[in-house]
């Protein structure tokens, strides 16, 4: 069956990694390893290794930051959406991303951190967001390509997280994935309209796919051998599949969809490998990814400046809200006394 769109799949052929307790379990963490080993969920009040907690905070915060920064490249086209229906869809999508940011910050807060502190870490550059959002949205077709490819890749990454060992994160991801799946269909549909439209619209769609394909593949991170956080994450039952397995799944899923769109993917080495039962694809130029991560992507500075600017411009309003709440509380107390 050709999966034209929709990614509500459970990975089928790649075996998920099994959580693995260390040979010597630290006293007090027996329950943690028992729960993780039985594929159960760790909850906020449960004992957990300090590096498990720290690593989850880093991962969930990075994910939340990505949602918030990701509003910018798409928000860039709200004002110019070419029909009122598309404008409504795009507004709703960008709004969903703010909502995802909220669930994820809330999930991170269950680990004893504060959203305001996480935002400070983002604003000071000490925490990252997904590098994909450092690419510019140059035409309307980029909105379709982001929905189809970037949200498509995000879903492949995120569906396994719905079963990750940390309960609040897993539950947040279930909701996020449902909405992302909807976004991916909308992106595909927008791009399909373009690829079957006028010659100019078709060219716009092809150009967008040409520019977003390789960055989308890079969203899965470096090859397994170079991935710094993978091994421990797998032992903890947070990460279930390797970067390369997930990337392969994304390619396998996307190629038939590109055929349905009538668009080509910009990789001369892309072909079906009967023996492997997968598509082979060309070598990814990771030097570019590392440059973008270092801050030298097309939009790194712009995205951060916008984010910091919105935060700083709004400081007076947040302070006012706090002051007002304190006054109200004091008045309530005064009238109760």
């Amino acid at each position: 069956m050709v999966r034209v769109y929709g990614n509500d799949f459970a990975p089928q052929d790649a075996e998920p990694a099994r959580p693995a307790a260390p040979a010597e379990i630290e006293p007090g963490l027996e329950d943690f390893w028992r729960i993780v080993g039985a594929d159960g969920r760790i909850e906020p009040r449960d004992a957990m290794p300090e590096d498990y907690r720290r690593s989850l905070v880093r991962q969930i915060a990075q994910h939340a930051h990505s949602e918030i920064i990701g509003m910018q490249p798409e928000g860039n086209w709200i004002g110019r959406a070419p029909s009122l229906r598309r404008k409504a869809i795009l507004m709703a999508k960008v709004q969903d991303e703010a909502g995802h940011g909220l669930y994820l910050y809330a999930a991170a807060e269950t680990l004893g951190v504060d959203r305001a502190d996480l935002l400070d870490l983002l604003h000071s550059g000490r925490q990252k967001y997904s590098s994909i959002f450092n690419y510019p949205t140059l035409t309307w077709a980029d909105i379709g390509a982001i929905g189809w490819l970037v949200d498509g890749a995000a879903i492949v990454n995120q569906v396994p997280l719905c079963r990750c060992s940390y309960g609040p994160y897993a539950r947040a991801m279930i909701r996020v994935c449902k909405e992302e799946s909807f976004h991916q269909r909308q992106g595909f549909e927008a791009l399909n309209t373009l690829s079957h439209g006028t010659p100019e619209q078709r060219a716009m769609a092809q150009d967008a796919v040409d520019r977003w394909w390789w960055p989308s593949l890079m969203m899965f991170g470096p090859h397994d051998a170079e991935s710094t956080h993978s091994e421990k994450s797998m032992a903890w039952g947070v990460k279930r599949f390797s970067n390369d397995d997930l990337r392969q799944r994304f390619v396998d899923m996307t190629v038939p969809q590109s055929e349905a769109l009538g668009l080509t993917l910009p990789d001369p080495d892309l072909r079906w490998n009967e023996e492997r039962g997968h598509y082979d694809f060309g070598e990814i130029d990771f030097t570019e990814l590392f440059e973008v991560i270092k801050g030298n992507g097309p939009c790194n500075k712009q995205r951060m400046a916008h984010r910091r600017g919105a935060h700083e411009d709004g400081a007076w309003a947040r302070e006012a809200a706090t002051a007002y709440a304190e006054k109200q509380a004091a008045r309530k107390e005064g009238s109760a006394a």
Partner: protein, 255 residues
């Protein structure tokens, strides 16, 4: 003037307000507010789509919501100036959250009164659109009221800025209640609402909110309007340039 013109003017108010409000998504003081502004803009856009679709259906030949939104020139738009202006009070602060809150309070309070009355219009379509929209703008008014209270009665700085924002928006309030553009026969037939009859309930609401927020009703002269006649501010051209350019670059294309 006929029902089509009336629906079109109300639709233009909602459309241009939504277009402007979209500028705040990913720029609000906190993430909850990004969600709220997105929601409000979406509601206004939905109202605009219903009203424009209805206005276009009364034309011969029929025009769609997109024909009306994307293929009319500035002089053919009939929205009030209030909704087309940019978001700054001072040039160095082109996007001021106080202005957003002030405009939202004014617009949603006016729209609550308007849609409430219009929900009993003898025109069934207008009545149905208004009956749905009144529930939405009631939420917008609650949301704006809460922020006016926080900013007005928050810190000294927020009080000053909220008052300055109100003062900046206030000259554009009077145009909402101008009767000159509404055909009296539409009012007599129970199709349209005479705008000036909305002013008293509007003032009552606003005076109450401002008093609770320790703010005062601005004492500023009304600006010379013209939006209902298609005479706009200099900023309107830029709003339309942004909104329409892509669509107009591809005549005949569907999206």
């Amino acid at each position: 003037m006929n029902t089509r013109d009336y629906a079109l003017s109300l639709g233009d108010d909602a459309l241009v307000a939504a277009q402007r409000m979209g500028e705040w998504i990913a720029a609000a003081p906190q993430i909850e507010e990004d969600v709220a502004v997105g929601n409000i803009a979406l509601d206004l856009l939905g109202q605009a789509r219903s009203l424009l679709t209805y206005a276009g259906s009364l034309e011969d030949p029929v025009r769609t919501e997109d024909d009306l939104a994307y293929w009319r020139d500035e002089r053919e738009f009939h929205n009030v100036h209030l909704v087309e202006r940019s978001w700054g009070v001072l040039p160095e602060r082109p996007r001021d959250f106080g202005v957003l809150v002030a405009r939202l309070l004014v617009l949603s309070t006016y729209l609550c009164e308007l849609y409430d009355r219009l929900s009993t219009s003898t025109d069934e379509t207008l009545a149905a659109v208004a009956a749905k929209a009144v529930k939405e703008v009631d939420y917008h008014r609650d949301h704006a009221t809460l922020w006016v209270l926080r900013l007005g009665d928050g810190t000294e700085e927020s009080h000053t800025r909220m008052q300055a924002a109100l003062d900046a928006e206030w000259p554009y309030v009077a145009e909402l209640f101008d009767d000159a553009w509404v055909d009296p026969t539409l009012v007599e037939r129970g199709v349209a609402v005479l705008p000036s009859t909305l002013r008293d309930p509007f003032d009552l609401r606003i005076v109450d909110v401002l008093a609770r927020a320790t703010l005062h009703l601005p004492d500023v002269a009304a600006a010379v309007g013209g939006g209902r006649r298609g005479v706009h501010t200099e900023q309107m051209g830029y709003v339309l340039a942004e909104m329409q350019h892509l669509t107009r670059s591809h005549p005949g294309a569907t999206w």
